[in-house]
């Protein structure tokens, strides 16, 4: 019956309780949603770190880490290959050669990490294939000689992107609701080629009204973008023997991941197209990338196993290779609870205040209860339960609504396009899909109960200090 009384007491002063319940609800919604959003970001960053950038475990020659010279290839590659092929913990693995090379076209040049890959194996380990941009060719599917996959960033630096107002673009813009004036303005530069984004933008600004640019500018830029797939890029690098070597490739695909830094550095070619000219022998590789079946369970143990089996290699996990993501994976869960803790700590003052008022206006009744034989433990429990109910109602509603928001935005995503560049510079996606573990809600519930118990101490002590004789006489 104490449960019954406590529950009913919560609703005795409906307006006052509802104010607290609403405050707790709003606090919980915001806490849960912020945690979900950050978790979505972290998940995305970790997925990107593992499946795009570094895989679960990487094996390299320790000397290569100090000095990225081509001669520092991985020793004992045959034994390592056999071991990996026979391990039941490995889901997929592949080998890369890596050359730091200067890429040049007739219009630009840039330094790149040229990775020689085995395409069939690579797609088991890396998801770069999924990031090929629209109209940006394909991932080594075209049949031409010496294909290369470069990033959009590299294409831009090598001036392999230009901007053209085509008839197709005009048609699409018309479909989007552009008026005749806009179309005629755009038609004035139809089929004219702009070799930089800057020049194209300047031209658009000179012929279009600011309002049109605001409405359709981004769409026009996107549709006008034209990747010069099949363009030739010449790479210059120093080969195994230390002499300068040259090799030309044709762009077959252009990718764009969420990590601008990764994009700026990496280009991919088929290993056989670079091996001969660089002077690699059949077993010369610079890194082995491994994807595990169960990385949560096996990451550290498998790393240790590899390290002890092949002591003359350097074995590193993704947490070491992408320390930002590794740190977040370990720290973020605690961080979510800190966010919730701060919110509930602030709410606790409101809860204490409300419960104190509830006790003070019931002095007579509490005195009566003690007079007729309700002991201190029961009085304390009653007030504690009231506080727990009051807090729990708000937090359960808050968790349900916050959870619903996470589910909804987890499906449609949240686009932070306005700050996209800044995000991608750090490897974060501008598109966030909030997500959260169910265990988080259990943690929050336990936290709410603890906060409620702590908040009930002051009001409950106040009640226990009452002298029944005086309390009953209070008017």
């Amino acid at each position: 019956m104490i449960w019954n009384i406590s529950w009913k007491n919560v609703w005795r002063n409906k307006a006052r309780s509802l104010v607290v319940v609403c405050a707790v609800t709003l606090g919980t919604i915001s806490g849960v949603f912020v945690a979900g959003m950050m978790n979505g970001w972290v998940d995305q960053r970790i997925r990107s770190a593992v499946y795009t950038e570094v895989s679960h475990i990487k094996i390299q020659n320790p000397k290569y880490l100090i000095n990225e010279e081509l001669k520092h290839t991985i020793p004992n590659i045959t034994e390592i290959s056999d071991f990996l092929n026979n391990s039941d913990k490995v889901s997929a693995w592949t080998k890369h050669t890596k050359i730091i090379a200067m890429a040049s076209t007739s219009r630009g040049s840039t330094a790149l990490n040229l990775k020689g890959i085995n395409v069939d194996e690579e797609i088991q380990v890396s998801n770069v294939k999924d990031f090929i941009v629209d109209n940006g060719g394909d991932y080594f599917e075209s049949g031409f000689k010496n294909p290369i996959v470069i990033s959009e960033k590299t294409a831009d630096q090598l001036r392999l992107i230009n901007y053209i107002i085509s008839q197709e673009l005009l048609d699409s813009i018309t479909d989007l609701g552009a008026d005749a004036n806009l179309i005629s303005s755009l038609s004035s530069i139809k089929n004219k080629r702009f070799i930089t984004e800057k020049k194209f933008k300047a031209q658009l600004e000179s012929i279009l009204k600011p309002n049109d640019i605001k409405e359709l500018g981004a769409q026009i830029m996107k549709l006008a973008k034209n990747y010069k797939v099949r363009s030739k890029i010449v790479f210059t690098f120093s080969g195994m023997n230390g002499e300068m070597s040259y090799q030309s490739f044709r762009v077959c695909g252009i990718y764009k991941t969420n990590n601008a830094m990764f994009d700026q550095m990496n280009a991919f070619v088929k290993e056989e197209n670079i091996a001969t000219v660089a002077g690699f022998m059949p077993n010369d590789y610079h890194e082995i990338s491994i994807i595990l079946k169960d990385d949560k369970e096996n990451l550290t143990s498998f790393k240790d196993e590899l390290s002890s089996k092949f002591p003359n290699t350097s074995v590193m996990t993704w947490k070491e290779l992408a320390p930002d993501a590794g740190m977040m994976a370990d720290f973020m869960k605690i961080y979510y609870y800190i966010i919730m803790g701060v919110i509930f700590f602030a709410l606790a003052f409101g809860i204490i205040n409300t419960m104190l008022m509830a006790v003070l206006e019931r002095i007579k009744e509490l005195g009566m209860l003690m007079a007729v034989g309700m002991n201190k433990k029961r009085v304390f429990s009653m007030i504690m339960l009231e506080t727990i109910f009051l807090t729990l109602v708000g937090s359960i509603v808050g968790m349900l609504l916050g959870g619903a928001l996470i589910v909804i935005f987890g499906k449609i995503g949240m686009n932070f396009a306005s700050v996209q560049e800044g995000f991608e510079a750090f490897g974060w996606s501008a598109m966030v899909y909030p997500s959260i573990d169910l265990s988080f809600f259990l943690g929050v519930t336990i936290m709410v109960i603890i906060i409620a118990i702590l908040s009930s101490v002051i009001p409950a002590r106040k009640a226990l200090k009452l002298n029944p004789v005086e309390a009953i006489r209070t008017e």
């Binding site: 019956m1 009913k8 005795r12 007579k364 009744e365 209860l369 007729v372 034989g373 309700m374 002991n375």
Partner: protein, 228 residues
């Protein structure tokens, strides 16, 4: 059989360096089945005396034994338990729990005593019927008149099967009709069930019904009149 035996009871309050003797060396005893009224003017000490008998207040001096137990020797948590098992209280302002129904208010005491649900159910309905509220068991106090609320309070006081019931000015807030009904019910319970009632009052209607009238003035008993 003596239910309450009071010897040389004194209660002194220290109010801002002035000592007030609220009860001054009272000796009294009550038998099972008494229907007694303690009367006296305001400030005469009748409520203090009632609080001391009910174990709500501690005497400065003297002894109160209830059924052979010296309640002056009990600590505060023992006293709470003692009150729960031995004494029924009826207050001037009814003091029901507003969020509970009449039946739940009566049951509550039995739950504190650890009685089983079936027993609680049966007894609470039986008691509410006895005070004439058999039809209103599910009404909340706010839906009942003052007289009806006080009858629920009497049923609640009886629920724990106490050795006696202390009623502090139970009719002070009631109109004559409600007072009449309430007094008749208590008198009937006293006669039929042999339940001991001790009132503090200055309501002449209560005094008229009482079979023993103890008059207190300045903390002392000035007369103790038994009637038949």
């Amino acid at each position: 059989m003596k239910v309450i035996d009071i010897k040389n009871l004194t209660k002194i309050y220290n109010e801002s360096e002035v000592k007030v003797k609220a009860v001054d060396g009272i000796s009294l005893s009550f038998e099972q089945g008494e229907f007694a009224a303690i009367v006296g003017p305001s400030g005469s000490g009748k409520t203090t005396l009632l609080n001391l008998i009910g174990g709500l207040d501690k005497p400065t001096q003297g002894e109160i034994s209830v059924d052979g137990t010296d309640i002056g020797g009990l600590n505060s948590s023992q006293l709470i338990d003692f009150r729960l098992r031995n004494i029924g209280f009826v207050f001037q302002a009814y003091n029901l729990i507003p969020v509970l129904t009449a039946k739940e208010n009566v049951e509550f005491i039995m739950e504190l005593q650890g009685k089983k649900r079936i027993e609680r159910d049966e007894r609470s309905i039986e008691l509410l019927s006895a005070v004439g509220l058999g039809e209103r068991v599910n009404a909340r106090p706010s839906k009942l008149s003052g007289g009806q609320q006080q009858r629920v309070a009497v049923a609640r006081a009886l629920a724990s099967k106490p050795k006696f019931i202390l009623a502090d000015e139970p009719t002070a807030n009631l109109d004559s009709k409600s007072t009449e009904t309430l007094l008749n019910i208590m008198e009937q319970l006293n006669k039929e069930e042999n339940i001991t009632f001790i009132f503090s009052t200055h309501d002449q209607r209560v005094v008229k019904k009482a079979r023993r009238v103890i008059t207190v003035e300045d903390g002392r008993v000035v007369s103790d009149e038994k009637r038949n």
